[in-house]
Symmetry: C2
Subunit: 391 residues, 2 copies
Amino acid sequence: MRQNHQPYSTEILGQLNTIVILETIQANGSITRPEIIRKTGLSFSTVLRSTEKLIQSGLIVESGLEASTGGRRSTLLKLNDDDKVVIGIDMGGTKILGGLISLSGNILTKIKVEVDITSSQTSLDQLFEIIQQLIEESKQRNLRPIGIGVGVPGITDSKGGEIVYSPSLGWEKIYLKDMLDERFHLPVVVENDVNLMALGEYGYGVGRGVPNLVLLAFGTGIGSGIIIDGRLYRGSTFSAGEIGHMVPGQKFLSGKYEHTHGALEFMCSGTGIAGIANTQLREQNPDAVAITAKDVFESARKGEEWAARIVSDVVDYITISVANTIVLLDPEEIIFSGGVFESADLLLEPIKKRLDGLIPMHPEIVLSDLGPQAAIMGAAHQVLIEVAKNP
Amino acid sequence: MRQNHQPYSTEILGQLNTIVILETIQANGSITRPEIIRKTGLSFSTVLRSTEKLIQSGLIVESGLEASTGGRRSTLLKLNDDDKVVIGIDMGGTKILGGLISLSGNILTKIKVEVDITSSQTSLDQLFEIIQQLIEESKQRNLRPIGIGVGVPGITDSKGGEIVYSPSLGWEKIYLKDMLDERFHLPVVVENDVNLMALGEYGYGVGRGVPNLVLLAFGTGIGSGIIIDGRLYRGSTFSAGEIGHMVPGQKFLSGKYEHTHGALEFMCSGTGIAGIANTQLREQNPDAVAITAKDVFESARKGEEWAARIVSDVVDYITISVANTIVLLDPEEIIFSGGVFESADLLLEPIKKRLDGLIPMHPEIVLSDLGPQAAIMGAAHQVLIEVAKNP
DNA sequence: TAACAATACTTTCATTCTGTTTGAAACTAT
DNA sequence: ATAGTTTCAAACAGAATGAAAGTATTGTTA
């Protein structure tokens, strides 16, 4: 028999309520204690004590007084934007994006480098190097990093801080949290990159304060991040939301996608779209120059028939994947993200139109707010939460 | 701004741990306190106090002593099967199934009647009548009902106890919990029927103690029940798991399924399968007698080509829906259920075969244990949990 | 301008959890 | 018979919540 639930103690009780309060402050930007009471249902004592702790640990600050509502004026609380930052890293398949992010979600510095995937060690060294740079940068600016958050494409055991398997980085069984802990002596969060994107939108973006949302990322690869009740849903083997492997029709059943990136990814990812286009073009002209997904969309905009057909198929398959996601999870909001949605002008409205009348649920369907920065901002959010647990 | 989370108090802290303990007892049938400690990670005093309360309220009983492991023999604890029962009702589209279920999941009495859907009042009256009968039956047997659980096909707000919309019963905005509370003065649980089936398998069936599972029900209609971390996942509008509306391919995009039962349901439900078969048969012979899904499977078993084709399609579409479910939710276990799976001999292995190599996750895929009784047993489970919260 | 009402904050206290410690009881092995 | 192990029971401290009473600040009104 497996263990079903975690045991609950007064300690984690306090942590949970602290998070509730912190997220309320984050979602509202600036808020008074009485308002927190009304929104959370907690008692004044609890709110007072919790905010006191958060102030003491420097995560939030008092910021002036609210106008009176008939009596004594209440003090406004907001996230500390003066001297605390999070170090957020997005390990992409091709690029590493690092940044210093203030607690309220402002990116203060960015560093971007090409990944060197010669070996797992080279990319790890790059990661360490970037973190070191960001720490120094924060020192120069008189900022104190409260923690490090790293997003990795692949399967991550965020509890154990292990990268289980990341094919694009060539990482396998890398105990990244331990490594970073030891080296930098800061709280560390390790998480799947798309999961972090979802958290970023939840904390600072278009999903701010929406407790049930799904972010669908169509980029070089395809993935999704699922937030249920304000927490990441990771599944039983940390593989939830791997929608690249969705099967969007009968004809995909004969394919063996287990060890590739999946049927949907084959049709709708950036690489997939380019691949389909190039195959078609080469059929007509064996010496055709290879094009990218972006080129396909550009041609479609110019009204070229072959490209419009491909885009129409892409719209179809994305619609199928969104519909299936909505039907299964019934989220409040769907967020589209990733490089493919840089061509949202050709995608969003057609998708919405195809969904119209197709399924009975009608969640908000929106575009990502944070774009390529979503992951490092998600890192900021998650580190903030993690630090708030033990201030 | 919406409220994100519930506030946590010591009271619900106790409730949560009590549930953890109760489910551990339920999942193991018969277990000692030290064993509970090992499985849950809770302290001895917590387990002791909690079990004391559960014993006092009569939900569990001590049942003899375990063999010694070197010292004092420990007492075995199990669910009270002697004098406590749950009244479980499954309001089907055509039949009502009611039963007295002992806390350990034995069905002591069953009542089955055809639903009278003349009006919403007639079926409600039938429900009241059956509950009344079961209460009297329990009196005769010297049993005490601890609560009433009702499963309804449709959208139910289980927190408010409201039937939001049940087309097959013609119910809309029925505050069933309040009605039953007032009439019978017992704790009441109102829940979607497929959700209850999932809970039944989780508590007493093939999913016993598996905290992350999905039950897929292919019957007259199609639905699914999602259990995450041992709790039902209901979605933001109580519509999670409505997989009848899954879109299993490009050709379904032109259909307007919003106000019907959905694209997948059109292909794979009992009614859907029969409909497809009858349409085909009538094309060949306009006077063909209408057949049922069961007939189709029977013909396929006899090797009739036309039926085998239909069944193969059904296998395809079920495979697609399962694959998409797995990919999105990454559960530990998938449970197939419903009338269509009475022909599991033609379905299960082919489905598994088609899944082989298709996706990278490999959850257990099994058949329902409890069959048509799953829902009322789920009712028993949920009522048990609900009562344990406030013994 | 002073009294009053309303609201926000502070402090104190009782309650309800958890987990630890200590000791008694029950059992096995030597 | 003795020693050691394990379970069970009770007492206690720690942490968190929420309620209540008191203080501070602000706006209103006579």
